[in-house]
Symmetry: D2
Subunit: 280 residues, 4 copies
């Protein structure tokens, strides 16, 4: 299998997206809102998450929602705003695609394509992502086994894409939290494959109060980075507000993760906002 250790060529285990390297000594922090809601919301949040330490911006233009009557995302307009946010902040952008027919348009804007949990078994989409020419962030299906997860990555790799990053994000169990954070998958995936592994404690717990603890734990158990939902004004978020962090909360978590990263031989830069604070 192409995902197996030893099947990776010259570039070792690194996956590069612009200046960002997944799988290296330095951890990757991706942050941003659940959904792109408006130009103002996205630009404000993008600037804020950059200050708080993010090196990549996330934000959904196309949103998979349980009910068809919930906000479905701004779609193509959302992609435009993401492009503008990148120009403003310099942060590369990762965003989800849900339909094979949108792949080309999304790949034109996004620096990295996200395949969400609900589409991990959508093999047509995986193949299209593997052929779109952009790196892919693949989230674990909510009840996918490790084998199914790695084979989903293989669908992408097989199309010629060699830049795939895995992301654990909670699994469905009897527990009463929205999902159960599946951190033991991190060392298992690192053992079985060369692919970098991210963790998403925001979806993994569905509760912003649990995110700091799970973000620290993700770093401690070997994740190559963390993906966090952050919103300039979590109370006003159109989706997943209860799991979104304020920019201040985000910066605080980054400081905490930074210390844990050093304890496990990795690094994470100090948030710009905290440095500025210190200079005063």
């Amino acid at each position: 299998m192409m995902y197996e250790k030893g099947q990776r060529g010259a570039s070792g285990c690194l996956v590069k997206v612009g200046d960002v390297s997944f799988g290296g000594e330095q951890l990757v922090l991706i942050a941003g809102p659940c959904a792109v809601e408006s130009r103002a919301q996205l630009l404000e949040t993008a600037v804020a998450v950059k200050e708080a330490g993010a090196v990549m911006l996330r934000g959904g233009a196309f949103k998979p929602r349980t009910s068809p009557y919930e906000f479905q995302g701004l779609c193509y307009k959302g992609l435009e705003y993401l492009a503008e946010a990148r120009q403003l902040t310099g942060l590369p952008v990762v965003t989800e695609v849900m339909d094979t027919r949108d792949m080309a348009a999304v790949a034109e804007v996004a620096d990295m394509i996200q395949i969400g949990s609900r589409n991990m078994h959508n093999y047509a989409l995986l193949k299209e992502a593997g052929a779109c020419g952009k790196p892919v962030l693949l989230k674990r299906g909510m009840s996918a086994t490790i084998r199914e997860f790695l084979f989903a990555a293989e669908y992408i790799l097989q199309q010629g894409c060699s830049e795939v990053v895995l992301c654990v994000r909670g699994i469905r169990t009897f527990e009463e939290t929205r999902f159960t954070m599946d951190l033991s998958a991190v060392p298992i995936l690192k053992d079985k494959s060369w692919l970098p592994v991210m963790a998403d404690p925001s979806h993994g717990t569905g509760d912003a109060r649990l995110v700091p603890a799970m973000a620290r734990a993700a770093v401690a158990c070997g994740a190559d980075g963390v993906m966090l939902e952050s919103h300039a004004h979590p109370d006003l978020a159109l989706c997943d507000g209860t799991q979104s962090l304020s920019p201040e909360g985000l910066a605080r978590i980054v400081c905490e993760m930074r210390l844990v990263a050093e304890a496990v031989g990795r690094s994470l830069p100090m948030p710009i906002s905290v440095c500025k604070e210190g200079e005063k």
Copy 2:
């Protein structure tokens, strides 16, 4: 919600596909191979399942497989064979679509579109299915809640399609069978919505030896019909052979289900093959 009881108009709770009615007094038996493997295999199996009592033919032209290196289906060629099988047997055809871009082609051939378990959360596909003009068979996602399942149906209904049939097919649990058959979902779904509910014990158990018991139980708890994998030669099946029934096994189960159907005030016709046997 459009799936709720009372939201169904003149046609009551019936969903019609050709001469087949889902949700009426007579139960519906859908049978056929997991995958269309060849013209000969499909035609032979189609004739055999009709003799064994099926009123609709199933068979995958596009197959969602865990590994990209497994047989992926005959795709468009498979659709041709399905059309031929219908012509030969008169059985309407239900087949899965996995990519929005294939919807028109599949809808041209299929009498009913199937959305598989892995794509129940694929909202782009649900919307396209709802707009394609054909009835839709929607399978429950392997870890979807009842609410998520009904909202997936709502995505289809909202597009103007009024012919949606639900199908339970096993959920992912700690049990060691491939899936755990979720029969208690049948009375729950019948209570919350007007949509007919089918059961698929072949996928629900993953083991042909358990299929007869679970098919009888599905009928007993109120399912409007059963979907069964059958192959003219299960030993030679390219996928899911261990859960496939021989035509003789299928006819035997139909006879068993028939008696249970009568016990719960429903009916199921005697298999043609058994009638012939009796005439000798």
Copy 3:
């Protein structure tokens, strides 16, 4: 293993408790209240469930409750009432034991000892039950595998007890019902062992409205009988009222199960109350 097919001697697969045979052609109906609440409640309910078709009385004297502040059962007083109810109705009694120190006292009164789901892994209790001289009804642990369940039976058999009956009662999954009814375990258990298998749809669903459908399904998939919670006045029940049936509801389900039983080559007597009704 002693639970395996072929390891059962002269008595075949039958387990006898007084005049009641588990595993024979005739299905067994056990019914009664969740808990013994008072002398009047138990006697009234015992008479009513007998009229409704029960051949054995259930009722908890010792109750395992999630909170220590909930009603814990009448304990020894409850055993006295059970003995009185047996004398009044002639129905043999099955009741749960939770503490090795109570085994002798419970075995003196009960015709059959119940090991509840929460104690299926309580090996000290299993051994004591196996040595107490009475038949044992063993319920599946809420997350026990089939292998663990059968080994729990083996703990009892190994102590010299040869009268063990298994009972499925729902497993813990992501579903939102109290438990997910594990009916596919019935044919699996019947395949792997000679032990009779009962089903408890009251606990398996936690909702009286789902009980009729699941009771019929249990019979259809091969269960040797059904255990149902019934209370003379479900609204007044001190525990599990929402899953308790009225005597009328119980009789109605028995009539439904009776028809399904005949459809699968088994039998269940008509409730006395229905026969009387017919005579008028």
Copy 4:
């Protein structure tokens, strides 16, 4: 509820067992073999785990095993050896009790009583533990909800015991590891109650190769300590050898946890064996 924050009196959130404090700034490391197998094995392992950093010794005299034909523990002889190991090393001892009738004998030897996962719902045992006069380590049931877990603690507290420590140890899910490590339960439990929370990555993963990552993660997310299975010779262990650490492996993990502990404002002493190494 007595487990709730604010219901703890003068001693704050600390639970003391001899010189060991659970819930303080310094993390607690409990280590030892799964089972007491022999005098030599226990004494050798006890000395080794102390050198590797353990401040409390674990070891099962009574072992809950899935099969009655597996090694069941040395029982009372095992208690004797535990007492001897304490005398030799000075480490307080925690050991499991499985039968109410053994409580007094176990409490005489043990410094802390363990209630295992399989008996978390064994309310008779919980009550007896709460009345035995010793602190109690309560492990989460393998499919217990947080509410059920905290109520199990309440059963103990209600008996007058005010020294209860919780321990997460993996839950049963669809994943293929023996259990899924339930680390998000740590911050949830810390939020809802004043009880100290330990984590057991050995049982939580069932695989010694995953233990280091999960032990670090447990510390990072706020656990008050870690319980680890260690055996002087893991290859020769009579039970759970695959999840047991060698003393060298244990010391290595302690060094790793130590760095993470400091990153989150806690501490863990350097293993004696590592200090000695450094002196050379």
